[in-house]
Structures are given as structure tokens and as C-alpha cells.
């Protein structure tokens, strides 16, 4: 974890209507240290302006230690992300990372269920890609899974509309069985990911990982608890320091308030309390 000045390698819109962007950065140190489920904080403002003040936390979608690159998917929701969407290749950004406590090792599990909602997708992809990387020299999941393990992943991926279901090809290339759901029914199941998943459950799953909006996580948590399947949730909370110092980003857990930025963002599902 350190501050790193990162160069923008590419920035592309994933469809005007979606507000989603795909950002590729040269950040060798961060790329080297990253693990799935970690995030970076990016200063999304001109150097000399004091507004917006805080760095923006964004999950690491992919990290490539050999190439010294990381990739991010973000959606424009406010002025920070709008500023970020205006960057150009060659611009440099102030980053802090990698931050947080990512997903724990999947070693013990064979059949995994993933729940992704909107911009919660990137964190889960990093998990799968890292898994599939093992044994692959380049690490890009092209073609069938080449990982040393024969873990099976099933993804339930929800978004508001078809166009917001991004990088489905990468998921497929990683050998993940993907079920989609959209709020407007424009692709896959018409409804929430949890409703979409309900038909397939309990299935034969050992573990699950979920990342997405709070209401989704809460429903997933409830549902999976009902089936007795353990899992992990990747949370979001407004952040200031990102390193565990300010105690601003806490969420409620069975152990009391815990810091999303350092104790999380990934927590054992059973520990998180949604109030």
C-alpha cells in the first residue's frame, strides 16, 4: 500500500447510456501487490482544487503484475467520477493502494456462487481471474479455464438494463457460467439477481461471494443463510482515509463496528449486520 502516480493507458466508455467506463492504468507497484477484492483510492480532481476534497474508492477489476497495469470499471454518479471520465491517455492520476482486505482463499471450495450487482462486478472478476491465472503465464482468461484448480463458478449478474451488463465475454472466457438479470427485463431474468438465483438454489454450492448494492447484499445474505451456504460480502461505505485511521467507514457487524476500508471491504457474510 502506497501513494502511486499512475498513468492513464486507456479510458473507454462502455456505452454512453450506461455511464460505465473502463480505465486501464500503469501502476506497477499497486499491480504487484494487489489481491482480489482490494481497491484503490483515486484523487478525482485537478491538483490545485480542494473540491471535491476526498479520494474516490474504486475496486480493482483486473491487475496484471507482469505488465504493471491495473484495470477499473466505474460508473459516473457524481462529480468525482465525472471528472475521472474526462481523463485522457497520458494523463497521470494520484492513487493510493492497494487497500483493504480482499476475498479469502477459495482453496477449500469447489463449487462457487457469485452475485454481482452493477459496479459490484469488478471485485468478483478479480477473484475469478486470479483463480484462473494459476498455471497461465499471461493470465488473460482466453478460451477455457487454464487454472491449476478445477473450481466451478456460477455468476448471477444483475444490472438495471442490458447495456450495463459489461464484459460478459471475459466472464465466459474465464469459464464461468453466467446468468444475467435486469431490472427492466432487457436481458436475462426480468428482476433482481436474487430472484433470478432463487430458481437454482440451493444447488450444490460450497461458498458464495457477493458484491453490489446494499439491498442486494442483504437479500443475498438472508437467502444464502436460509440454505446454510457460507460466503463473503464485499461492502461499500463512504470513506475518508482509506487506511483505517479515521474510523469513518464502519459498518455494523456481529463484532461491533468494523472498518470497511481495512477490516473489509470483504467480510464473512454471517458477520455483517444490515440495519
Amino acid at each position: 500500500m502506497q501513494p502511486e502516480s499512475a498513468g492513464v493507458i486507456s479510458l473507454s466508455s462502455l456505452g454512453q447510456a450506461t455511464g460505465f467506463y473502463h480505465l486501464v492504468l500503469a501502476a506497477p507497484q499497486i499491480a504487484k501487490e494487489s489481491s482480489p477484492g482490494q481497491f484503490v483510492m483515486i484523487r478525482c480532481a485537478d491538483e490545485q482544487t480542494l473540491d471535491p476534497l476526498l479520494l474516490r474508492p474504486l475496486n480493482i477489476f483486473r491487475f496484471h503484475p507482469a505488465e504493471g497495469r491495473i484495470e477499473i470499471i466505474f460508473r459516473v454518479v457524481g462529480r468525482g467520477t465525472a471528472w475521472l471520465a474526462r481523463r485522457k491517455p497520458g494523463d497521470s492520476l494520484s492513487l493510493l493502494g492497494p487497500l483493504g482486505n480482499g476475498f479469502s482463499s477459495l482453496e477449500k471450495y469447489r463449487r462457487l456462487l457469485l452475485f454481482a450487482g452493477g459496479t459490484g462486478m469488478p471485485a468478483l472478476f478479480s477473484l475469478v481471474e486470479e483463480e484462473r491465472k494459476v498455471g497461465s503465464p499471461l493470465g488473460s482468461p482466453t478460451g477455457a479455464p487454464r487454472g491449476g484448480h478445477n473450481r466451478e463458478f456460477t455468476l448471477f449478474y444483475g444490472a438495471r438494463t442490458k447495456d450495463e451488463l459489461v464484459f460478459l465475454d471475459l466472464w465466459q472466457a474465464a469459464g464461468v457460467t453466467v446468468y444475467t438479470a435486469t431490472d427492466d427485463g432487457s436481458a436475462g431474468f426480468h428482476g433482481t439477481v436474487t430472484k433470478a438465483a432463487a430458481g437454482f438454489l440451493p444447488g450444490n454450492y460450497d461458498f458464495y461471494c457477493a458484491c453490489g448494492p446494499r439491498p442486494m447484499l442483504r437479500t443475498v445474505q438472508e437467502m444464502m443463510a436460509g440454505y446454510g451456504i457460507p460466503g463473503e460480502l464485499c461492502l461499500e461505505e463512504a470513506m475518508a482515509c482509506g487506511v483505517g485511521a479515521c474510523l469513518g467507514c464502519v459498518c455494523e457487524t456481529v463484532h461491533g463496528y468494523r472498518r470497511v476500508c481495512t477490516d473489509g471491504p470483504v467480510f464473512p457474510a454471517g458477520e455483517v449486520k444490515f440495519s
Binding site: M1, L54, A245, C246
Partner: protein, 317 residues
């Protein structure tokens, strides 16, 4: 000038290698930032506010960004003084910088007890007494807003320790000078100012306050003009060293505080923009002194008051 200018400064009995500290509550117990830079480069560390008993703090959300500012409603989440002494203090002692312990209580007696406990611990440079806590006995108004209660707390702490006392003032008051005078009369060696301004934010889509606690403390660049004004006023009336904070993000901000009258400064919210900002500020001050051929930073303390005296015809000989 051939020698490098000196950044050393003295807050009363406490000698700091440079005037740049980090503000209480924004730096945890230093371990988080230890990975990012050598803590020993700092003038000092003001550790997160401690209470007698452990505290869980306020319900989230605890943060809201505002224009050039930050609202927080942490609510003094901390492990309590005893666990602090056992688990954090030994490591802090070895950081190679001055450790200032920030204490808060809900009764004057709690403050006194905290001072008594910490007085026995070696390796502390000073106690910073946060009087912005709600006074539970007197119905929730904070100790820091009335001269009497502020003085009462200070007196009890004074009686229980021989450590240097820096009393940290709340800016949410009509007359900051009256409070400053009262706590100095009650035994404060120095004053820290300012703590956060009471504020709030509303989410118009959700039609409710952003913070779980409704109100929070405003910090960051937005509050800098208020901090400087209060420091200016206190410097003119109350003859003790001041430690300034409130919106410092670069060396020019630090200079504004020093020239307004502070002997040292602390960076709080500025860390969140750039965790290395304290180091950059130290460097910037060093360069400024060199450029202006000033031998020591202490020459600049209160320097902006001279112009006023000159304007009033009170030119110094």
C-alpha cells in the same frame, strides 16, 4: 546565510523537531500511516481521542463530504485508555516523535481520572484535552462552550497530572477569547484550536440527514478562515503557545496559521487528500525559510500581527 534554517519550535515545555503535527482522530494510533512514511519525520502525533471506557462510536454513515470540507460523526470510537496503554502506547513510544494524547470525558471527573492514569505513563509529551465533548451532567452542551465548564475540566486535569496540558477549544462559541482565557487561568500550558465546527448535510433524494448521527463536525479547508480568525483573536489576548489546525493542506496554509500566531500546526483532513502532505509541508516550510533567509521558523510566529501594529503606528523599534 549558510546554515540550514531551523524548524525547531517549542510549545511551552515541549520541544518539537518541527512544527508539523497530525491532528487527533485523523491519524488513528499511527500504525496505519506507518506503512506510508516514516512517522519520525513529524513534529508530533496527536493520537485519536481516548475515553475512560471503550466506546463504540456513532452509527454509520459517519462521513459526508461537503464543499471543500468533511463532516464526521465518529463519536469518539476508541478502545478506552487502558487498552490504549497496553496495546498502543508501547509502539507509539518508539516512533521517534512526540506523542500527544487526546482525552475526552463526559464528566469533569472522567477527565481528571484520565489525566491521573496517563500521568504515570512515560513517553508522553503532553495531554491534549478535548473539551468538545457533550457534558452529560449539564444536559449535553459541550464543556467547551462555556468558560466555567471549560475551566472546571482544565482544573481537574491540572490537579491530576504534571504533564503539559494543551486544551483543545471548540469553535462553536460566541467568544473564543473568553474560553481561552478561562482555561489558561485554570492551568492550560497551551491551546489547540480549532476542533470541528458543528454542521450537517441532507440528502435531498432520501429526504433525510446524510449522517446517522444527524450532526457532525466540519473540518477541512472550508473551515480555515474561521480557524485563523479565532487564532488571531486568542493570540492577541492570551499569552500561551497555540497549536493550530483546521483545513491545512499545504505549507502556505501552515504559514498562515503560524503568522496568525501558532507555534505549531496539525494536519487532519489534509491527510485524506494526500497522506504525504505533512512531509510536503515540512519541506515547504524549510524552503520558504531558506528563500527568505529566515534562520528559524519561530521568527514567523505571529508575524502577521506586526503589519497591524505598523498600520496602527505602533512600529517596533
Amino acid at each position: 546565510m549558510t546554515t540550514t534554517p531551523s524548524l525547531e519550535t517549542k510549545v511551552g515545555r515541549v520541544t518539537l523537531k518541527n512544527p508539523v503535527l497530525v491532528a487527533s482522530g485523523t491519524f488513528g494510533f499511527a500504525c496505519e500511516y506507518e506503512k506510508l512514511f516514516p512517522i519520525s519525520a513529524l513534529g508530533g502525533v496527536m493520537v485519536t481521542g481516548l475515553t475512560l471506557e471503550p466506546r463504540a462510536g456513532n452509527p454509520p454513515p459517519r462521513l459526508a463530504e461537503t464543499p471543500a470540507g468533511l463532516l464526521n460523526s465518529i463519536g469518539l470510537q476508541n478502545p478506552g485508555v487502558h487498552r490504549f496503554i497496553k496495546e498502543e502506547l508501547p509502539r507509539l513510544r518508539d516512533l521517534g516523535t512526540e506523542i500527544i494524547v487526546n482525552i475526552s470525558g463526559f464528566t469533569p471527573e472522567e477527565y481528571g481520572r484520565l489525566a491521573e492514569i496517563l500521568d504515570k505513563e512515560p513517553g508522553l509529551a503532553a495531554l491534549e484535552v478535548n473539551i468538545s465533548c457533550p457534558n452529560v451532567k449539564e444536559g449535553g452542551m459541550t464543556f467547551g462552550v462555556l468558560p466555567e465548564s471549560a475551566a472546571a475540566v482544565t482544573r481537574l486535569v491540572r490537579q491530576n497530572t504534571s504533564l503539559p496540558l494543551w486544551v483543545k477549544l471548540s469553535p462553536n462559541v460566541t467568544d473564543i477569547v473568553a474560553i481561552a482565557q478561562a482555561v489558561v487561568d485554570a492551568g492550560a500550558d497551551a491551546l489547540s484550536l480549532i476542533n470541528t465546527l458543528s454542521g450537517m448535510a441532507i440528502d435531498p433524494d432520501k429526504r433525510r440527514p446524510v449522517l446517522g448521527n444527524i450532526f457532525g463536525g466540519l473540518s477541512g479547508p472550508a473551515v480555515k478562515p474561521v480557524a485563523l480568525r479565532m487564532i488571531w483573536q486568542v493570540y492577541q489576548e492570551v499569552p500561551v503557545p497555540l497549536v493550530g489546525m483546521g483545513g491545512i493542506t499545504n505549507y502556505r496554509d501552515a504559514l498562515e496559521f503560524i503568522m496568525a500566531g501558532t507555534t505549531a500546526v496539525a494536519v487532519g483532513t489534509g491527510l485524506f487528500l494526500d497522506p504525504l502532505s505533512p512531509l510536503k509541508i515540512i519541506e515547504g516550510l524549510q524552503d520558504f525559510l531558506a528563500k527568505h533567509e529566515e534562520e528559524t521558523i519561530t521568527n514567523l510566529i505571529g508575524a502577521a500581527h506586526n503589519s497591524e501594529k505598523e498600520m496602527r503606528g505602533e512600529k517596533r523599534e
